[in-house]
């Protein structure tokens, strides 16, 4: 009797918990961002394998996942890591350079009407230049080491960053700017203490778009001129008609993009939890 009352009391106590589930740290940091997308990925793989077998699709059209896995062993692990590192290095350097350059430009665009009038059209023109088409020119001008590849990566990753940062810097409630002015605070603190933190959600959406673009940029550069890197590896394998091997390279690229994207999302969740919509904290 009393035991019964006890359980129902407990049930009553846990009731609100069930209605508003609060996620544990592991759930927040690992299950939600990593396990769930991974699961989706595995399901797609299984369907893919089944399809290639059922319809007997030749491997040069669409290799089965198992064939692609075999493709991984075509190259030694140390060679793989050399390819991965080459692409990752260029993507990351280009990405960081794009961040470092876009931030001051975004501040200028947001703060000064003059600068935005003068610079914005130029930025749009630069953005409209098909990077794939200028890539060979850049390689000719800058040589064949990392520098041209970083520049190409930078050009692809840069624009979304400037746009999102500028939008974010201008999204501050005007009242806070008035508060800042009414305090007669130094101008730069309006940027550092109000506008930049307010821009964090916008900046992160730009960072997420650009990090995958940076990988694309590095690959495009490798297509044009490289002797190492995943992009080079894919192109080389394709030219040798080793399609499962090329697909293995593609898988590595996707994994790399996915990984970088998750690193960016995770840092937002860790360092700026307030910048996420409430239900996703």
């Amino acid at each position: 009797m009393s035991a019964n009352a006890d359980t129902s009391a407990k049930a009553a106590l846990t009731q609100p918990m069930r209605e508003a589930p609060s996620l544990s740290l592991t759930e927040r940091l690992i299950v939600m961002p990593v396990v769930l997308p991974l699961l989706t990925f595995v399901i797609i793989l299984v369907l893919w394998e089944a399809a290639t077998r059922v319809f007997a699709i030749p491997s040069f059209i669409l290799p089965a996942p198992t064939r692609i896995i075999e493709g991984f062993s075509a190259v030694t692990p140390s060679r793989w890591s050399a390819h991965v590192w080459a692409t990752l290095r260029v993507a990351l350097i280009g990405y960081l350079v794009a961040i470092a350059v876009s931030l001051p430009i975004a501040i200028g665009l947001a703060k000064s009407r003059l600068m935005s009038r003068a610079l914005y059209p130029l930025l749009v023109v630069i953005q409209s230049v098909p990077v794939v088409a200028v890539a060979p020119i850049i390689i000719v001008v800058l040589g064949t080491d990392d520098a041209p590849r970083v520049v190409i990566t930078f050009m692809i990753a840069f624009f979304p960053l400037v746009v999102s940062m500028t939008t974010g810097l201008m999204a501050t409630p005007p009242e806070l700017i008035e508060l800042s002015r009414s305090l007669r605070a130094p101008q730069y603190r309006e940027i550092t203490q109000i506008r930049l933190p307010y821009a964090v959600p916008y900046i992160f959406s730009g960072l997420k778009i650009s990090v995958t673009l940076a990988v694309i940029g590095a690959v495009v550069a490798e297509f044009v001129a490289a002797d190492v890197g995943i992009g080079f590896f894919i192109q080389f394998s394709t030219s040798m008609f080793r399609l499962p091997q090329a697909w293995a390279g593609l898988v590595v690229l996707v994994a790399m993009s996915l990984f970088l994207f998750q690193v960016v999302s995770l840092s937002q969740r860790l360092f700026f939890p307030w910048s996420l919509p409430k239900e996703r904290r």
Binding site: P173, E175, L176, E178, L179, S180, R181, S182, L183, R184, A185, P186, R189, Q193, I194, P197, V200, F272, W274, S275, K278
Partner: protein, 260 residues
């Protein structure tokens, strides 16, 4: 003696904005004097220039005509002794209550010292938020957020408090409670208050004087003392002469509201 001092003085003030559809007269020939520690409510239809009146007083803009003075000095830029409370609390979402309240110090001087934190504790207690110092704005109700906004404005101990429809985003009950608390704060530490509102009961409950404005161009159409002593409570508000006063204000406002 104290009442003889003018805190805020508008002399033939006009404000014309250049807009895409031509010049827009937001204020026209506004004359207004607010004594030190007087509580003045400004009532008027939307767009009649109430916020403009407040911005001019705050020194956030300069009038295109006439003169605005605070303590006999022409207003040319924002002053240290003027605090502002906005319609939305507009707190920093990443900063907790304490950091939001001390924000003026951090923003103005770049640092928050021990005396600042003491002062913050004082104003946080005064607005009834003791114990909530570590909460983020998103964890507070609208009323509590606006209390933080008021505490932030009081933090630098301004002599003049400018409030732009500070309670209009709150539900009716919270709004009444906040009104009474504002009166308590004002009585404990007298300040000159310019209180902009759309609500006649709120203006009558809070103010010594009510200014009524008309729209396009924004003009002062009435300037009347509230026929009520202090302290005030619900029953005082139900007195017939107060009801008549409120009815009169309503007539003025309806007459000035553009017909639908």
């Amino acid at each position: 003696m104290g009442l003889a001092t003018n805190a805020i003085d508008f002399r033939a003030v006009g404000q014309v904005f250049a807009t895409e559809s031509g010049p827009l007269t937001a204020l026209d020939d506004v004359n207004l004097t607010i004594a030190q520690h007087e509580f003045v409510a400004v009532l008027g239809p939307s767009g009649c220039g109430k916020s403009t009146l407040l911005r001019l007083t705050a020194g956030l803009m300069l009038p295109t005509e006439g003169k605005v003075s605070v303590y006999r000095q022409p207003v040319t830029r924002p002053r240290d002794d003027v605090g502002i409370v906005f319609q939305q609390a507009t707190l920093l979402p990443w900063a907790n209550v304490l950091d939001n309240v001390t924000f003026p110090a951090r923003h103005k001087r770049g640092r928050v010292g021990a005396p600042d934190r003491e002062r913050a504790a004082e104003v946080i207690a005064a607005v009834g938020l003791k114990g909530f110092e570590a909460r983020l704005p998103a964890e507070l109700s609208g009323g509590m957020q606006q209390r933080v906004g008021i505490a932030r404005a009081l933090f630098l101990n301004p002599d003049i408090l400018l409030m732009d429809e500070p309670f209009s985003a709150l539900d009716a009950l919270t709004r009444d409670a906040m009104g009474y608390e504002l009166l308590k704060l004002w009585q404990a530490s007298p300040k000159t208050v310019m209180f902009i509102t759309h609500s006649i009961p709120e203006a009558v409950l809070l103010a010594d004087r009510v200014i009524v404005m008309s729209a396009r161009p924004g003009r002062i159409v009435a300037d009347m003392p509230v026929p009520l002593g202090r302290p005030r409570d619900e029953s005082a508000l139900r007195a017939p002469e107060v009801q008549d006063f409120a009815a009169h204000l309503r007539e003025l406002l309806i007459a000035k509201e553009p017909s639908l």
